[in-house]
């Protein structure tokens, strides 16, 4: 599904140039659950942003389902993104002014799904995430675990082929964290490819494969048995 070759990303300020990704190569197949680990500043989040088409690389190639997407313009990226990729963030990134239902509904609005279908699909996914009873609440009225479940519901409502999760349990206690990991595992078992950045060895164990990054390139890949 994903093939990146010699991927490069630099951050420049006036005085220094920092290499975030250094000729990185990585291949991820459809249906995989991959954890990306490494110390702070090793380029994990940068990689995830590029994979999610939120940021563009400075060099190298990125094939998504066989299409070169490294130099797509903003409109094409947004288009590809909204139909294929779901995001889960550490800080949930729910919109405070919208209710649970409206937050989850948002991606469907942007992909132009009609109102009746939206209602049906949002209710479906909320039920699945066991958060249906909170549909009219605002994010700040929910616990961290519940908020992350809403975020996951929002990420999957469009039935994306790929979910990118950036430390999804980072702001949660262990029982809520485990719950979220179970949800991701379920999604993966139903066929969704998942790429997750994490600091937690415990969470990484839910994945099929761990990619360890150091200074912008892969140092080791562990295959989980």
């Amino acid at each position: 599904m994903i093939k990146i070759t010699n991927l490069e990303k630099f951050y420049r300020t006036e005085e220094v140039e920092t290499v975030a990704l250094n000729k990185l190569n990585l291949e991820i197949n459809t249906g995989e659950f991959v954890a990306i680990m490494g110390p702070s500043g090793c380029g994990k989040s940068t990689l995830l942003n590029i994979l999610g088409l939120l940021d563009d690389p400075d060099g190298g190639s990125y094939l998504f389902n066989g299409t070169e997407v490294a130099h797509f313009n903003e409109r094409k990226r947004a288009d590809l993104r909204k139909h294929n990729i779901g995001f889960v963030f550490q800080s949930f990134n729910l919109i405070d002014e919208l209710t649970v239902f409206e937050n989850v509904e948002l991606p469907l609005i942007y992909t132009g799904v009609n109102s009746a279908d939206r209602k049906q699909r949002v209710e479906e996914v909320l039920t699945k995430m066991q958060i249906m009873h909170r549909r009219n609440h605002y994010p700040q009225q929910l616990s961290g675990g519940q908020q992350q479940r809403v975020a996951i519901a929002r990420a999957v409502v469009n039935k994306p082929k790929l979910i990118l999760a950036d430390e999804p349990t980072g702001n949660l206690d262990s029982s809520n964290g485990n719950e979220v990991m179970e949800l991701l595992t379920d999604l993966n078992e139903q066929g969704t490819t998942i790429i997750m950045v994490t600091h937690s060895e415990h969470d990484a164990r839910y994945s099929h494969r761990i990619v360890r990054l150091l200074d912008g390139h892969t140092v080791v890949e562990n295959i989980m048995m």
Binding site: N49, L54, D55, R75, A78, N93, I95, D96, L98
Partner: protein
């Protein structure tokens, strides 16, 4: 989708309600103010536009290239109009026009009326439709009169007016007239105003001057054939001018006049009647012409205020945008397109603008009466419902929405998704744009403060400058149409002889300043003296004039009843003496009324400002010639009890004239009245400055709130490290203070240019001092500092633990 936009917009607006309230307040004030201003300006520009043939009507005036400069004059000789129509083929209709007050008598009813002396073509040229009578025949007879519906009601009550005979007493002559038409009341934006139209043949001096090309007393208006192009008028009229104005041309040549670019020393020119309301360049016109400066400065100030409010809007939206960066990032991640985001933010702007417009229009209805009183504006709220104005409001609304809403929306949409999700934009950088906009706001505000101070200085200078005569203890009484002036003066003299309050009584043809009767006149006369033309203002006075007005006599004496031949005497001012060449003038004779009866100079007085301070003191000659009637009685009273003296004189007047109004006023009131338009301008500047400062400060307050929120943690850390309250307040204020200072300095050259330009219109004016600029800057700085202090002090005294923990 749209419903979604509105729902989210509403929640966002509610969440930021403090800022939005500030936004709405500022914008609403601006909308109210602009609506009132633009209605006023529209009204001023709408003058006379109800005349169907407006574009074909012109006023004729003459241009003399005198050695001292170009002189334009609209007064015409009586035979000119008919000769013009006969000899210049493009003229379709022509009318002479003169104005005078009169008393109309019908049965026992006596009513004051405004009499307009015109030719029969008048009704064919101008759109004053008749509700009764025949427009083409209404002025065909010499004794015909056309009256307005309003005047008809005043004179006849509910009785029919048509074919009734009325007696009009004007210029002390009673004549009967037959009402042959009733004209529909004209709209308030008409330059031509009248109660009664009568034939021009009844104009004073008509019989004496009807063939005299040298006496000029009224204006001439002409309608030209359709498609007429006035461009070549001066060429085409050359032979006409040479034929009838040969005397003028000869005199001008003798005095050393230089021809203009077309080779003309003296020529006739056309002023479009469409511009009549703003035509204060050619002397007499129909109605009171105003300077275009007045509506234009209103427009400028209106635009300033709207701009300042829009800047607030932009600054606040951009500042608030930082707090919403994450939301934008999330929406983008979820696939929101650029236009979807732009639309969403724009909907919020539209809602705020809509609320502001509604509140602004409500404010408008509350303030309209004060506004009308303050600026002598004749606008009404009903004007708002005219389609053009509704369209104007919609355009203003859209313009504000576009200017104020588009940029912040665009900026938010441009945020880098990754950066905002990481929270990198949340801390607001001050931003060049915000600073630039703040500088613009305070430049405009300081500019208006400077203008306010300088106009105020000039007005107080005008009020306090000694004018060379006593303006505090002298009362001026307009005689009006009820009595003959010289008789009234004699009667008042007798009546007041034993009044202990009164020091002396006199009378004159012209008033000092502008009296309660609202009229002002001048008489300029030219005569040949030692082979060159001398021009002088002429004033007819009576005995004791110099004494009554406390004018200083330099040489000779004033008119005195003890001397038998004073009716041919002259008292002149210093300027006139200089014009005549200086020394030993007492006893010299001047041919002021032609050669046959020369008058001799009996006295010279020190210069005094008999005109407004717009003009230098020009040559003045005072006579006791009976050709000019006494129109004003002057009474000098003892100082101390002015109110008592006024009442006293009033009762004396009413004893003599029980039915005549007592329109007396003190001379200092009269001189003040000359500067009404300056006061109005100063009022505009003051209100503009106050509003600009208030709206700018609302913006600054909101920005400082935002800044304190953004720098909360920094303030906490600084306090923990030992910063004191003053230090923090200074730290938070200094960036803004620098901007305000820069703004003030930027406003200096503009303010200096504008105000020195304005002051040029006064012969007597204040200098522009450096301290005015310093004071305005200090004022702007203090106001800005106080505004910021509300927030900065609050932040500085807050417990640092709180701000640090909340992180």
């Amino acid at each position: 989708m749209i419903k979604n936009y509105f729902k989210i917009a509403w929640r966002n607006l509610w969440k930021g309600r403090v800022f939005n309230l500030m936004n709405i307040t500022g914008l609403a004030v601006a909308v109210a103010c602009c609506t009132l201003i633009f209605l006023t300006v529209y009204y001023e520009f709408s003058y006379d536009n109800f005349h169907d043939k407006l574009d074909r009507i012109y006023q004729v005036y003459n241009v003399a290239n005198r050695p001292k400069g170009v002189e334009k004059n609209s007064a015409m000789p009586i035979p000119m109009a008919s000769a013009f129509k006969a000899e210049y083929p493009a003229v379709k209709y022509v009318t002479r026009s003169g104005n005078m007050g009169g008393v109309v008598t019908y049965g026992n009813q006596k009513v004051d009326g405004d009499i307009h002396f015109v030719d029969p073509d008048f009704l064919k040229m101008f759109s004053f439709p008749l509700v009764q009578g025949n427009r083409n025949a209404a002025l065909s007879e010499l004794n015909s009169a056309v009256i307005t519906e309003k005047a008809a009601k005043k004179i006849f009550g509910s009785k029919p007016a048509l074919n009734q005979t009325i007696i009009i007493n004007s210029n002390n002559e009673e004549k009967p007239f037959l009402v042959t038409g009733v004209a529909k009341d004209y709209p308030s934006n008409s330059s031509i105003t009248f109660d009664i139209l009568v034939r021009f043949e009844h104009f004073p001096q008509y019989k004496v001057e009807k063939n005299n090309w040298d006496s000029r007393s009224h204006i001439v208006l002409a309608e030209f054939n359709e498609g007429y192009n006035p461009q070549n008028f001066s060429k085409q009229i050359k032979s006409f001018v040479n034929k009838y104005y040969a005397g003028d041309i000869k005199n001008l040549k003798r005095d050393g006049a230089k021809p203009d670019a077309n080779g003309d020393i003296f020529t006739l020119a056309l002023a479009p009647f469409a511009n009549n309301h703003f035509n204060n360049d050619i002397g007499g016109v129909e109605g009171d012409a105003i300077s275009k400066t007045y509506p234009l400065s209103l427009v400028v100030i209106g635009c300033f205020i709207l701009l300042i409010a829009c800047i607030n809007f932009i600054n606040l939206s951009v500042a608030r945008g930082f707090t919403r960066a994450r939301e934008v990032g999330v929406r983008k991640t979820l696939g929101a397109g650029k236009w979807q985001l732009l639309t969403q933010f724009w909907v919020e702007t539209i809602m705020v603008c809509f609320a502001s417009t509604v509140v602004g229009l409500l404010l408008c209805t509350l303030l309209i009466n004060q506004f009308k009183a303050m600026f002598k504006s004749k606008i009404s709220l009903a004007m708002l419902l005219e389609p053009a104005h509704l369209a104007g409001i919609v355009v203003m609304f859209l313009a504000v929405t576009a200017i104020a809403g588009f940029y912040p929306a665009l900026m938010m949409v441009r945020y880098k998704t990754v950066a905002v999700l990481k929270g990198k934009i949340s801390g607001g950088k001050p931003g060049k744009l915000r600073n630039t906009l703040l500088v613009i706001q305070f430049t405009l505000s300081t500019l208006l403060i400077i203008c306010t101070i300088i106009t105020w200085q000039q007005i107080s200078y005008l009020s306090n400058k000694p004018l060379g005569y006593n303006k505090t203890e002298v009362l001026s009484i307009p005689v009006g149409q009820n009595a003959k002036g010289s008789d009234a003066l004699q009667l008042m003299r007798n009546e007041l002889r034993n009044n202990s309050n009164v020091e002396s009584v006199s009378g004159a043809y012209m008033n000092m300043g502008k009296g309660n009767d609202g009229s002002s006149m001048r008489s300029v006369l030219g005569f040949i003296y030692h082979d060159r033309e001398v021009r002088t203002h002429l004033q007819r006075i009576d005995y004791d004039y110099i004494k009554t007005l406390d004018i200083k006599l330099l040489d000779g004496r004033e008119f005195d009843s003890k001397f038998g031949n004073d009716s041919t005497g002259l008292v002149i001012n210093e300027s006139m003496a200089r014009e005549l060449g200086g020394k030993n003038l007492i006893g010299s004779t001047l041919p002021i009324m032609g050669g046959e009866s020369p008058a001799h100079i009996i006295g010279i007085v020190k210069n005094f400002n008999f005109q407004s301070l717009h003009d230098d003191i020009e040559p003045l000659t005072m006579t006791m010639l009976k050709d000019f009637e006494i129109n004003y009685i002057f009474v000098k009273v003892k100082p101390g009890n002015l109110v008592g003296a006024f009442d006293n004189i009033k009762s004396n007047w009413h004893r003599l004239y029980p039915n005549a109004e007592f329109k007396a006023s003190w001379l200092n009131e009269n001189t003040e009245r000359q500067y009404l338009s300056e006061r109005r301008l100063s009022g505009i500047f003051v209100s503009g400055a106050v509003l600009a400062i208030i709206i700018s400060c609302i913006g600054l307050l909101a920005i400082s709130i935002m800044m304190v929120v953004q720098r909360n943690k920094e303030i906490g850390i600084r306090k923990v490290l030992g910063a004191n309250v003053l230090g923090i307040v200074m730290m938070l204020s200094q960036d803004f203070m620098k901007l305000v200072l820069v703004a003030a300095i930027l406003s200096f050259p503009v303010a200096w240019w504008v105000m020195s330009h304005w002051l040029q219109s006064f012969a007597y004016r204040v200098d522009i001092h450096w301290w005015v600029f310093a004071l305005s800057t200090a004022l702007a700085l203090i106001l800005a500092f106080v505004t910021i202090s509300f927030q900065s002090i609050k932040a500085a005294i807050a417990n640092p633990v709180k701000s640090l923990r909340s992180e």
